[in-house]
Every structure is written in C-alpha cells, then in structure tokens.
C-alpha cells in the first residue's frame, strides 16, 4: 500500500505578462488502488497539477509538498520521480525522431526497473499489451509519436502505463480527441493496469464521458487552482447535468 500526498501546493508559471500563480493551495491524498477524478473547467489548473507532479521545469512550486510514501517528491528530478513509481500520461506526447517505439519502451523499462528486461518475456508482454490496445505490430518499428494520430498517441501512452507498471498514474485528459471506440480501448487499458498493479489513478478530465468506462472512487472539482468540491461518483453525475457554471459563477 502506497500513498501519494499533495499538501497545500502552490505553483506559478512564467508568462509573457509575468509570473502567474496557477495552483493556489491544492490538497489531495491518493492511495494505492484508488481512482480519483479531477474535473474542472478549462484554465482551472488541472494540467498544471499533472505537470507539477511529474516535475516539468516550466512550473515552479512556491509552497507546499508532494510526498510519495513520505518521500519528498519535489526534491527528485523528473526521471527520479518516474523511477519512484510516478507516471504521467500526457495530453500532447511529443515526437522523438530517430527513436523507435520498441527501443524507447525497452530503454524506459530498463531505466525504471534498473535492469534490462528478459528478452523473451518482454517481447511477449509488449505483444500482448499491444494486442489488447488494438495496436498493429508494425507500431513498434515506428519512431516515437512520429506521425501518430491523436488516438495512436493516447494508446501509446497507455501501452507505457501497462508495461512500466507505476504505482501512481496521472492521466492528463487522456480522453480528449478520442472517438467512442478508442475511448473504450484506452479505458480498458487503464482498468487493466489498475487491477493488475493496484494502481492509484489521478484521472484529469474536462468531460464526464470517460467516467462511464473508468469508475472513480472520488471526484474532485477543480476551480481557479483549488479543489472546490469533493465527493463520490455521484458528483460526476451532477456535473454532467449542471456543468461547471455553479462554481465559476461563485468566483
């Protein structure tokens, strides 16, 4: 059982208009096996939270803590965080020219576990995960994210989630740009990883439709850089019916 704690997190970002505070005191606790949905209107700071947990250099933490089983995550470099068991499925995965998917996956797996995976089982695992995500075998010979469609990029993110077996995954708008079939395939992947590894999930989304396939234990409504309301799955249903107006008007 692991626990990821976010305490009073304040994060700023440099903009052309100067330094801007995006997160204004976020508190969240996620335990192994729990699925937390973070919902909120555009610009509320959802993605900033995701990138701050992963350690993107663009974001500066000015106050607060992130702890993974008591360890100070903010003191870790980006790759140390990943090796500690944190995973970020990105909304806009970048292209890496010249690096094939198969080489990339093997390098990442080696980095995470500290040793090269046994070839035979590794090939089988990759094959199986790709089959599950309806990815063609030719995929592994393509360069990372190069010329991938939106849906292929998201499947590739979830493929990594399944193979790298993190303790906690932050999914940053993984549902955006997916049609219903792709959404289902990707959601099944998340559910498999959740079940197989007792994964803790922080599911960031603007819309409720992905929650039909991935059932959250907790829903947090994010407004203006803070958690404005928390509840169970029923809160998502209410958002579906009422939207975010109730919160944004109050601000």
């Amino acid at each position: 059982m692991s626990v990821l704690e976010i305490k009073n997190l304040h994060v700023t970002v440099e903009t052309e208009q100067g330094v801007k505070e995006i997160l204004k005191g976020v508190d969240l606790t996620i335990r192994s096996g729990e699925i937390h949905a973070i919902m909120g209107p555009n610009g509320s700071g959802k993605s900033t939270l995701a990138y701050s947990i992963a350690g993107h250099p663009k974001y500066t933490v000015t106050e607060g803590e992130i702890l993974l089983d008591g360890e100070d995550v903010l003191a870790m470099s980006v790759d140390e965080r990943a090796r500690a068991g944190l995973f970020l499925a990105m909304q806009y995965p970048v292209e890496i020219p010249g690096v094939s998917v198969s080489n990339f996956l093997r390098t990442a797996k080696t980095a995470i576990t500290g040793e090269a995976p046994a070839l035979r089982t590794w090939i089988k695992d990759v094959r199986e995960s790709m089959d599950n995500l309806r990815m063609d075998a030719s995929f592994s010979e393509r360069n990372v994210n190069e010329g991938f469609s939106g849906g292929e990029k998201k499947r590739h993110e979830i493929l990594q989630l399944e193979l790298l077996k993190p303790r906690f995954a932050v999914l940053d708008e993984t549902d955006s740009g997916l049609d219903v079939d792709a959404l289902k395939i990707v959601s099944e992947g998340v559910n498999r990883a959740h079940k197989a590894n007792d994964l803790g999930v922080l599911l960031i989304t603007h819309y409720t439709r992905i929650l039909k396939y991935i059932k959250p234990d907790f829903v947090h409504v994010f407004v203006a850089g803070k958690v404005a309301e928390e509840g169970g799955a029923e809160l998502a249903e209410r958002l579906e019916a009422e939207g975010y107006d109730r919160y944004t008007k109050a601000n």
């Binding site: 250099p57 790759d79 080489n103 980095a111």
Partner: protein
C-alpha cells in the same frame, strides 16, 4: 517536395530562394595553385571558414604523406606508389579549389589502389598523422569491371592534410567506399573526392567525420555512363570548436542514372559548426534521372550552428524525379521531459536520441569494424561538450 513527414522541432529551410553563385559546371578547374585566388571569406567556396583554420593547406609548398599511410595486402588487391606524372592521375577529376590544387601539385607520388577481383574482406588504408606540418596526399582507386569490394579510408592521429582522392568505378562494379575521420584535436583535413562511375556500376560513398578541428570533404560523383547509381552518405558529430564541412556534388551527365544523397549530423557544445552544401546537376543528356538529396541536423545544445544549403540545377524536364530536403532541429526541452518522465536520465535520453539519429547511416556502411568503432566514438563524444 519532402517525402518525410513533418516532425516536432524540425523546420524546413526556405531553400527555394537559394541561388548558386555560378553554374556548377562553370566552376574553374586547375592543378595549379596560382590559378586560384588567395582564399578569403568573400568567396562562396570558403565563406564559412577563416583562412587561419586551414593551418597552411593553402600554401604553395606542402610536405607529403607517405610513411603515414599503411595497408595490408589481400587477394585481388594491388596497392603501390606511382609517380604523379602517370597519365591516370588527374584522369577522373582535377581540383576545383586552391587547397585541392596545392595538394595536387605537392603530392609527387600517388597511392594507386587497384581492385582487380571482388574482395572477400573490406580493405583498409590507414592514414595516421604524426605532426601539424601541412602535407599533401593523392590516392587513386580503380576497380576492374564486374567486381564487388569495400574500401575503408581511415584517418586518425594528429595531422594537417590536403588531399585528392580519385575513384574510378568499372562497368558493372559495386564499390563501397567509406572515409572515416577520427582525427585528434588540432587536426585539419581538407579532402576532394572525384568519382566516375562506369555503366551500370554502383558506388556507395560514405563520409563519417567525428574528429578534427576542421574537416572539409568535397566529394564529386560523375554519372557519365548510363545506368550508374550512386549513394552518397554522410554522418558527422561536431563538438565545441569543431568545424565539419561537407559539400557533395552529383553530376548527372548520362541517361537513366540514380543518386541518393543523405547526410545527417549532430552538434553539441559552444561553436560547434557544421556546413552542408549539396549540389545536384541534371544535364540535358541526363533523361530519366532519379535523384534525391537530404540533409538533417540535430542541435543538442545552444551555441551550435548548422548551415545547410541544397542546390538543384535541372537542364532537362525528362526525368524520373528530383527532390531535396533540408531540416535542422533541436533536441528540445519537451523531448527531454518526455523521456525523463519515463525514467530515462538526461544523459541516456541524449544518447538514445543521437544514436537513433545517426546510427542508421553508420550501419549502412556494412563494415562491422567501422560500425563498432564509430559507435564507441559516438559514446565518447556524447560525454563531452
């Protein structure tokens, strides 16, 4: 025109506006140094270099390389020094610039490499410099018709070398020529290659440059017999203070010939500078020509500079295809973040990207010793700035 998909961080140059200063075949040729003006940056041929960087290779009098050159004999291969007055010398190509002319004039002997039968093993000529005395070397490679061979020119040590390499590929022959420059720091190497391809012959020509303060190679492939095919590849990595310049030229003079020019380079560290000028000329007679040239550069740090200029002159419309692409991109913070977010350290991330970018061209040489040693050199270069 590009057959390659758009990539993150890679931007197409606006090379449509680049006009060669003169028609490529009108460029003056001479074996005499005095026929060329003193080198200056105002000349298109030398615009990216300071004359001091040439370390004396533009002088009237140079030393000669002979004992610096070593080789082993094998079945089907004959190597000997001949006087440069021999009629063969200069028959494939003569200098188009002052440094090549100085090297031509000062090399009193020429190393004649005759490939008389197909070679079962790659042949290697090792050139190992031992001083910074500006010196000259002339190599003449000739293959008989219907042979298949691999020849490696391996340059290392500390040297300042001006050079001409003539390559005569016989009819129906296949020659794989690999020129590897892993000179020590302080070295300067300016080399002009002239290749002439026989009917239905194939030349694979690779220039791999990793070491040396200044390495400039100007390979010319003349496709003057029908059905000839040339593959010109280049791979390079410039660290801080290194200048690596490649100016390949394909002269399509006969019908139904094919050329593919692919040069890729990485740059890392302050004032790492690479230059690629790729010329292709399709003459009136060269109907059915199929050509494509590509240059890509990967900028790993700030302070690097990659110049890249493709030039295409077409004198006939009756061709199969003619294209070019040039793109320089940087390994940016977002790519680094993505790889780090998967547990990969910064050093390993750079290694992954650079190997992915350059290894394919190294592997295309098909010479195991070259692939192995250059992979090691690449590792070393990734460790320094």
């Amino acid at each position: 025109m590009s057959q390659f998909p758009n990539q993150h961080g890679l931007t197409e140059h606006s090379h449509g506006a680049v006009v060669p200063l003169q028609i490529r075949i009108d460029r003056p040729k001479s074996t005499s140094v005095s026929d060329f003006p003193a080198i200056s940056k105002t000349q298109d041929l030398w615009r990216y270099l300071d004359v001091e960087q040439l370390a004396g290779l533009d002088a009237d009098v140079l030393g000669e390389y002979k004992e610096q050159v070593s080789y082993t004999s094998q079945q089907g291969l004959s190597i000997s020094w001949i006087p440069s007055t021999d009629a063969r010398v200069g028959s494939i190509g003569i200098p188009e610039d002052r440094v090549a002319a100085a090297a031509y004039t000062n090399a009193s002997e020429t190393l004649l490499v005759e490939i008389n039968e197909s070679l079962s093993e790659p042949a290697t000529l090792s050139v190992t410099g031992t001083s910074k005395t500006a010196s000259a070397l002339h190599i003449f490679v000739v293959t008989k018709p219907h042979v298949e061979a691999t020849l490696v020119l391996d340059y290392r040590g500390l040297g300042v070398l001006g050079e001409n390499v003539e390559i005569a590929v016989g009819d129906e022959s296949r020659l794989n020529l690999v020129s590897v420059q892993t000179w020590d720091k302080g070295s300067v190497h300016v080399s002009a290659h002239y290749a002439k391809l026989g009917r239905n012959s194939l030349l694979k020509h690779t220039v791999a440059t990793f070491g040396g303060d200044l390495v400039r190679v100007t390979p010319i492939s003349t496709l003057s017999s029908p059905g000839a095919e040339v593959e010109m590849n280049g791979v390079y990595f410039a660290n801080s203070g290194q200048h690596i310049e490649n100016r390949p030229f394909v002269d399509h003079a006969a019908a139904n010939c094919k050329s593919r020019v692919t040069y890729k380079g990485a740059l890392s560290g302050d004032k790492a500078h690479t230059v690629w000028i790729g010329d292709v000329l399709i003459r009136v007679a060269a109907e059915g020509t199929d050509t494509y040239e590509l240059n890509r550069n990967l900028l790993l740090t700030d302070g690097t500079r990659a110049d890249s200029v493709p030039n295409l002159e077409i004198e006939t419309g009756e061709i199969q295809g003619a294209g070019h692409a040039s793109a320089s991109g940087r390994f940016d913070d977002e790519q680094l973040f993505y790889l780090q977010a998967r547990g990969v350290s910064e050093a390993e991330a750079k290694r992954l990207v650079v190997f992915g970018f350059l290894l394919e061209l190294i592997q295309r040489t098909n010479v195991p010793e070259v692939i192995e040693s250059l992979s090691k050199v690449l590792e070393e270069k990734l460790g320094v700035n």
